[in-house]
Point group: C2
Chain length 352, copies 2
């Protein structure tokens, strides 16, 4: 439990539980509630504009005086878009939306604008964000230096041992070891063609052995017993996402919450259909249709942009077939309720 | 730990550790050593002839008076072979063997003979085998009734909750919950087109919640800490395979043992190349060549038969590129040594 003691001290929190950032699900209120309860709440800011990032940070600060983390996508914005792939996918999506009576917004490749995490670093420094977590890659050395100068703790995301070692060498303070069970986007970045799919039972001890800094286990942490099991495996703490999807403070659509609560173990799949990046979510009609099309899916953030109108409409109109219902393999363990109660149940018998 | 107490009583063993059956790796001597040490050794008999089955059982009995399990493949033998797929694959393999200076044995589809587990049941009864484990499906009701009448304990293999429920309903006494981390063949049988790939951190508690009988966690059980973590997650005990691959009593080729010891977390993959059935093993040239061929791989046992000469030759000649080096995602945790020492290290600090 030495690792846990170090983690609690390093983050100055009471419980070794970090709430996972879930764009489109987690909210400032959720992050604040987790931090208030003694864990570390996280604001999902990956890919957001600087303005939106500031707004969400300030909103969170209104709810809590405690520290919380801000999560970034450490991802290079694509320099060139393959116009042919873009057009084929857009044509397919246009026809698909028409068939399914969904609104469609035609985009021109040259008009697309993608935000970079680099546009957010100064904000995090100005706002004195104490913990910055990130996924999809490594922050560049300048960003790391600037955040460290500001006394931010940095948490990188690894899905394989080599990624964990690379992150440690880059200077991060902790690593989230993301098992294949985890919902949402895979953090994989070193070998994108061969997506690592390593179960938490293997990944947690392997990464813990390979690095000296504290490791947070993510994926399948669905109960107090799983929290304890992860710590036995060598993790200092855990990151928990799916358990909070049906929380009162979640902005997931009702149909999405229900799908999570009723999910069977086999109901999730890895897909690139919604964003262009591999992610685990509950299977639905849209994923299957994109797969069946046989089209080459444009890379992240391009595909994400092509599907954004569809996803927003589906979320607003509670249409589960077109929402990216990111969820992990233990989703069915989630229950409805207040974030604070979900958190309390998770830590109720401690972590040893 | 109630589950573990029940398991130990039910199997009359000292430690809640079952040695996984590994055809081509585990041996009568290994099974006997595990049983002698207080666990449950297992003889891999899946797909073997009745004669070979008897021989191995008698050999094991010479090494130990303690109980051991015999593992079967509860798989229906294919009724019809797709001749075109068979011929295309055989042509490919013939050319591949020529290029790689490997012997090749031309087979005629009509001459193939496959053994069924049904040919082995009477032997297990005559030999009074106290524990019969199986994978790839469910034993038929007659076989279950006959074995139960003989007071055999039955252990089925599940890779998803629905499989565990089906097995419990069929009357088995225990279930091995095989996480995606596990090496060797996947036990999946209910939905072969959509191979369940559920990490042990999710699968173990989900199956434990879904059935009343004891559950053995398999996949990623690479240390005493992992054993304890699995039991915390609700398992009554564990099944361990990869840790025993480099044992002195293993019949794995030296190159295979070395590959396991030096495996990185990302070195294994799921493949149908060797046997026609999905299995996790260390990537090698043969797997990649079959994948690259783009050919339709005949189903199990057909493909297994087509590659059998190649595999035997490679094993005898220590050629790692052509051996089916089945191994789990935690393989690198294995060490050389006597089976009894590997077992002792695994259970050294108990299971609570």
């Amino acid at each position: 439990m030495k690792n846990t003691t170090q983690l609690l001290k390093q983050l100055n929190i009471d419980y070794p539980v970090i709430q996972g950032a879930m764009l489109g699900v987690s909210t400032p209120k959720m992050a604040a509630e987790v931090s208030q309860a003694g864990g570390l709440g996280t604001l999902a800011a990956g890919g957001l504009s600087p303005e939106k990032t500031i707004q969400l940070i300030r909103e969170t600060k209104q709810y809590t005086a405690k520290k919380f983390a801000v999560n970034l996508f450490a991802h290079d914005v694509p320099r060139e878009i393959d116009i042919q792939d873009f057009n084929h996918m857009q044509d397919f999506l246009q026809a698909y939306c028409k068939t399914n009576q969904l609104p469609f917004e035609l985009k021109k490749p040259e008009d697309l604008h993608f935000y970079s995490y680099q546009d957010q670093i100064d904000i995090l420094i100005d706002e004195k964000i104490p913990v910055v977590s990130f996924t999809f890659g490594m922050l560049n050395p300048a960003a790391i230096a600037a955040l460290k100068k500001n006394n931010s703790q940095l948490i990188g995301t690894a899905t394989a041992v080599q990624e964990a070692i690379a992150l440690e060498q880059s200077g991060v303070d902790m690593i989230t070891a993301q098992g294949v069970e985890a919902g949402g986007h895979r953090g994989s970045f070193l070998n994108p063609d061969q997506l690592p799919q390593i179960g938490a039972m293997s990944l947690t001890p392997l990464i813990t052995d390979a690095v000296k800094i504290p490791v947070l286990a993510a994926g399948g942490i669905s109960s107090n017993k799983a929290l304890k099991a992860a710590i036995l495996l060598g993790a200092a703490g855990v990151q928990v996402g799916s358990l909070f999807i049906p929380a009162d403070e979640s902005m997931a659509a009702e149909c999405y919450k229900n799908a999570v609560l009723n999910a069977a173990d086999e109901d999730t799949q890895l897909t690139r259909a919604f964003s262009g990046r591999w992610a685990r979510g509950l299977s639905n009609a849209f994923m299957k249709a994109v797969e069946k099309s046989g089209l080459k899916i444009p890379e992240y953030v391009v595909q994400n942009s092509l599907t954004s109108a569809l996803r927003s409409y589906a979320q607003q109109n509670n249409l589960k077939d077109f929402i990216s219902m990111w969820a992990g393999q233990s989703s069915s363990k989630a229950v409805r309720g207040k974030t604070r109660d979900i958190f309390a149940a998770l830590v109720k018998d401690g972590w040893e």
